[in-house]
C-alpha cells in the first residue's frame, strides 16, 4: 500500500508539473530576493529615516484602507444582491464589475479624471465644499477603489453563494427581519470570503500606480515615489524605498492572513 502511494507520488507527469511549478515560483521569488540582496542595511536604515518615504508609506496604507472600508459599505450588500437575486441584465452587471480588471490602469485614471476634474459637475461640487479630487488623498482613494473593487465584490459574492439559502429561510421563519438575517446569518457565514476579499482589495489598492499617477501625482503614494526616485536618481535610490514598502506590505499581509485563519479556527 505504502509503496503504491509512493510510486504514485513520483510518477513522471507529476515530476514534470512540479518542475514547471518550480520555474514559476522562481520567476516570482528571484527578482524579489535579488532586490533584497542588492540593498544594504545601511541604505535601508537611512531610507527608513527619510520623512518623505515614511510619509508616503503611511499615506499609501491609510488611503488604501480607507478606500476599502468606505467602498465595502456599498459593495458587500451589493454582492449579496448579486448572489441571491435574479434581475434583468444581471450578466451585463457582472461584466461591468469586472471591467476595471481588464482596462489599462492609466486609462482607468483618465476615465476617472473625466468625471472628477475641476471642470466637471462633481469637481465643481467638491470645489464648493472646499476640496478637490485631483491631487488629493480623496482622489487617490477613488483611483485605488476603482481598480480594486472587483476583487471584493467577486469574493464576497462567492462567499454569499456558499451560504445555504435554507439557513436564511429558517431564520426568517423564526421571525427575524431580512435585515437581521443579513447581519446575523449571511454575513457571518460568508465572513471568510468577505475578509479575504477585503484583504485582496486593500492589497490591490495599495499597489496601484497607473490610475493614481494620473489623478494625484501629489501627495505622493509610495509606488509613485519609487517611480519618481527611479526617474530622477536611478535604481540605487529607488531600490531601498521599494524594499521598505514591500516589507511593510508583507508584514501587514501576513498579520491579516494569520488573523483570518485564527478566526476560522475559532469558528470550527
Amino acid at each position: 500500500m505504502k509503496t503504491e502511494t509512493l510510486k504514485r507520488k513520483y510518477e513522471p507527469l507529476s515530476l514534470l508539473f512540479a518542475a514547471f511549478g518550480g520555474v514559476v515560483l522562481l520567476f516570482i521569488i528571484a527578482p524579489l530576493i535579488s532586490m533584497f540582496l542588492n540593498c544594504s542595511l545601511l541604505e535601508l536604515a537611512e531610507t527608513a529615516k527619510d520623512p518623505e518615504v515614511r510619509g508616503s508609506i503611511w499615506l499609501t496604507l491609510l488611503t488604501s484602507m480607507a478606500a476599502t472600508t468606505i467602498f465595502a459599505i456599498a459593495a458587500i450588500p451589493f454582492s449579496y444582491l448579486l448572489a441571491r437575486k435574479q434581475f434583468p441584465l444581471k450578466g451585463l452587471v457582472s461584466g461591468i464589475i469586472d471591467l476595471p480588471i481588464v482596462i489599462p490602469h492609466s486609462a482607468a485614471g483618465i476615465a476617472l479624471l473625466s468625471v472628477v476634474s475641476r471642470g466637471t459637475f462633481l469637481g465643481q461640487a467638491a470645489d464648493k465644499m472646499g476640496f478637490s479630487f485631483v491631487g488629493s488623498s480623496v482622489g487617490i482613494m477613488l483611483a485605488m477603489a476603482f481598480v480594486s473593487i472587483p476583487f471584493l465584490i467577486n469574493s464576497a459574492r462567492d462567499g454569499f453563494l456558499s451560504v445555504p439559502v435554507r439557513l436564511e429561510k429558517a431564520a426568517l421563519s423564526l421571525g427575524a427581519s431580512p435585515f437581521r438575517v443579513f447581519f446575523t446569518i449571511s454575513v457571518p457565514l460568508a465572513s471568510r470570503s468577505i475578509v479575504s476579499g477585503l484583504i485582496l482589495m486593500w492589497a490591490r489598492g495599495m499597489s496601484e500606480f497607473g490610475a493614481v499617477l494620473i489623478i494625484a501625482y501629489h501627495p505622493m503614494i509610495t509606488p509613485v515615489l519609487i517611480y519618481e526616485r527611479f526617474g530622477a536618481f536611478g535604481l540605487k535610490y529607488a531600490r531601498p524605498v521599494a524594499v521598505l514598502f514591500v516589507s511593510v506590505c508583507l508584514v501587514f499581509f501576513i498579520i491579516l492572513r494569520l488573523l483570518v485563519r485564527g478566526k476560522d479556527a475559532a469558528h470550527r
Binding site: 429558517a170 431564520a171 421563519s173 421571525g175 427575524a176
Partner: protein, 369 residues
C-alpha cells in the same frame, strides 16, 4: 379553525400540487402522509411562506396570510435537513427567535427552560456542528418552539435519525402537542402517522386523497391507492395488556375482542395493524387440526371485492354473542383478508357465509400511542 388551506395549486416543470384544501383545528396533530415526491414538502413551504402558490389561499386564525411575509406568519418550520446556524452555539440558536423584545435575563431564563424541556441543557455551550442527528433535531425543535408559532410544521423530522433517537423524538413531539401546540407533520412512514397523528391527510400525486381521523383512514381507506400505500387494511385501536407469561406473547384488547400479539413493547394504549395478506380464511370445520396461528375467529363475510390481482374478503368477527348482550357494542369489527380468486372458488365464499378467520400473533404489528 386554526389553519385553513383552500384550493392551493402550484406547478413546477413536471411536478404540481392541485387544489389542495384542508382544515386544522387548534391542538391537532395533523399528519400529511404520502410517498416521496407527491408534494408534501412543497405544501409545507407554501404554508410557511417560503414558496408562493400559483393559486389558492391560506388562513391562520381567520386571517388571510397567503401573501404575508415569512417572518410575520407565526408559523414555525422545522426543516428535513439540519438548519441550525453553524456559527452559533446551541444556546444562541435557541435564543435566536427571542432576541427582540426580551431582556437578557428573560432570554436566558426562557432558553434554560426550553433546554430542559427538550433535554439539551448539557449541550448549550456546544457548537451546533458538533451535535449528533438526534441532538440537532431536539435543538431545532426547541428553537422553533421558542418562536412561539401558532402552528408548527415538521418536514420528515424523524426519518433521517438513527433508530435509537427515533422513539425519543417521537415522545418529545407527543409532549409538545400535549402542551397544546398544533402540529402539521409531513412523513412517508405510516407508523409515524399512526403513533403520532390525531388526524391524517393522505397525499397522492399532488392532491389530497383522503383526510380524517387516524382510525378512519386506516380502517376505511377511500381508494385502492390509499389502502395500498398505507399497506395496512386492518387497523385497530386498543390496549396492550401485561403478558400472562414471561414470553413475548401479549394480549391486545380492542372492543370485546382480544388479539394475541408478539411484541417486546410494554403494556399501554396503542394500535395494531395486520396486513390483509397475512390473514387466512377457512371454512368452519369442527375436526380442524390446530395450526401455529394464535388468532382464530369465527365471523361472517360481509363483502367480497376485487383488489388488484386478488380478492379482498371482508369478515365481521364481532361475535353474535356480544351483539345480543349490548346493542351499543354491536359495531362490526371488520377484518380484511387478501386471497386469490381461486381460493374464493375452492372455499365457495359468498356474502353472509360463516367462516374462520386466522392470523399469526407475529403478523400483528403493535404500534404504541
Amino acid at each position: 379553525m386554526l389553519l385553513t388551506v383552500r384550493d392551493i395549486s402550484k406547478a413546477f416543470s413536471g411536478f404540481e400540487i392541485k387544489n389542495v384544501s384542508f382544515d386544522v383545528q387548534p391542538g391537532w396533530y395533523f399528519v400529511l402522509l404520502g410517498a416521496s415526491g407527491v408534494g408534501k414538502s412543497l405544501l409545507l413551504e407554501i404554508i410557511a411562506g417560503l414558496t408562493r402558490p400559483d393559486a389558492g389561499q391560506i388562513f391562520l386564525n381567520g386571517k388571510d396570510i397567503t401573501s404575508e411575509k415569512i417572518q410575520k406568519r407565526k408559523i414555525g418550520l422545522v426543516f428535513q435537513h439540519n438548519t441550525l446556524f453553524p456559527h452559533m452555539t446551541v444556546y444562541d440558536n435557541i435564543a435566536y427567535p427571542l432576541r427582540s423584545g426580551h431582556t437578557k435575563s428573560q432570554i436566558s431564563k426562557r432558553v434554560a427552560q426550553l433546554a430542559e424541556n427538550f433535554g439539551v441543557t448539557n449541550l448549550l455551550n456546544r457548537k451546533s456542528q458538533t451535535l449528533s442527528g438526534g441532538e440537532s433535531q431536539r435543538v431545532s425543535l426547541a428553537r422553533t418552539v421558542a418562536s412561539e408559532p401558532d402552528c408548527l410544521l415538521l418536514d420528515e423530522p424523524i426519518c433521517s435519525l438513527d433508530a435509537t433517537s427515533r422513539p425519543q423524538i417521537r415522545t418529545l413531539l407527543r409532549r409538545i402537542n400535549a402542551n397544546g401546540q398544533t402540529i402539521i407533520h409531513v412523513t412517508h412512514d405510516y407508523t409515524e402517522a399512526v403513533s403520532l397523528g390525531t388526524h391524517i391527510a393522505v397525499m397522492e400525486r399532488g392532491i389530497i386523497a383522503q383526510t380524517g381521523k387516524v382510525e378512519d383512514i386506516f380502517q376505511h381507506p377511500k381508494s385502492e391507492f390509499i389502502a395500498r400505500f398505507i399497506g395496512i387494511r386492518n387497523f385497530f385501536k386498543g390496549h396492550l395488556e401485561q403478558p400472562y407469561h414471561q414470553s413475548g406473547l401479549k394480549l391486545f384488547r380492542t372492543g370485546s375482542l382480544d388479539f394475541s400479539v408478539l411484541t417486546d413493547r410494554l403494556a399501554g394504549n396503542g394500535f395494531v395493524c395486520i396486513r390483509s395478506e397475512d390473514v387466512t380464511i377457512s371454512n368452519l370445520d369442527p375436526m380442524a387440526k390446530p395450526t401455529s396461528a394464535r388468532n382464530n375467529f369465527e365471523g361472517t363475510i360481509v363483502d367480497i371485492v376485487r383488489a388488484g390481482p386478488g380478492i379482498e374478503v371482508i369478515v365481521d368477527i364481532n361475535t353474535d354473542k356480544s351483539k345480543l348482550i349490548n346493542k351499543a357494542n354491536s359495531t362490526p369489527l371488520e377484518v380484511a383478508a387478501l386471497i386469490s380468486n381461486e381460493s374464493v372458488k375452492t372455499l365457495n365464499l359468498h356474502c353472509g357465509k360463516k367462516v374462520i378467520l386466522s392470523f399469526k400473533a407475529s403478523a400483528v404489528k403493535y404500534v404504541e400511542e
